[in-house]
Point group: C2
Chain length 126, copies 2
DNA sequence: CAGAATCCTGAATGATACTG
DNA sequence: CAGTATCATTCAGGATTCTG
């Protein structure tokens, strides 16, 4: 099957499926949290430390959404002080390869894109 | 190289590279426009017709950003009435495979995700 | 430690009307 | 036909404070 015929995966149903998934992973932090949890269970504070710039609030929200969607598991231990561990589920792990495909594309083309952007600015703002 | 070692592609530089690209493609319409232009040059109105729900304003903005980033080329013909054709550049075409990888993941896992989401709702809103 | 609650701002999107 | 210009709305995300 050609690439052309595949784009129906994106355009099918007016883009609702792709939208559902983009809504999941395209916020500011989700992909970073998933990548950070790759191959390691982490506590809330450790995640917070390993993701520079994220606020407590956004880390909480991001983890809740990932948990809700079944990409991340949350394990709370009845201890004092409390201990909570987060880890990827099988579904969560399965997101890594396509995410890497995208990251690879980004790395490969970011120079071209930024050059094009710079040239565009020059043209429109003399 | 293992998948684990690869996630540095996402986490490297605090996620700035992946952010740059997510900022490009994660708005509501970009990926849909790119997929629609796959294998065909289209005029503004044709694009507008082929992408249900998009407003003129958002189509314009999306195309401008794509053009600015060098993913889409814009060709204006000096005719009356005006004719403008949009097409993917080589860089734009190169985005299709990773986008399809993501779409494939979405299709494969959307049922699980929505089930998990439904179960989560039931749990938290009795 | 692992969060919840609240307030606030800018940016993305949409609706509508106008134009070379 | 291919846009531009304005206005209104919504909401993601950040800062801050409080708590079991």
């Amino acid at each position: 099957m050609s690439q052309y015929e595949h784009t129906c995966m994106i355009r099918g149903d007016g883009g609702r499926t792709i939208r559902t998934i983009l809504d999941r992973i395209c916020d500011k932090w989700t992909l970073l949290v998933v990548a950070t949890l790759d191959q390691q269970r982490l506590r809330f504070t450790d995640l917070h430390r390993q993701i520079p710039g994220i606020s407590q609030r956004m880390l909480t929200l991001t983890l809740r959404n990932l948990e809700r969607d079944g990409l991340v598991s949350r394990t709370a231990y009845a201890e004092v002080p409390p201990r909570v561990e987060y880890a990827l589920t099988a579904t969560g792990r399965s997101l890594i390869p396509p995410a890497l495909a995208l990251a690879g594309w980004a790395i490969e083309h970011i120079a071209d894109i930024e050059a094009s952007r710079a040239a565009y600015e020059t043209r429109s703002a003399p």
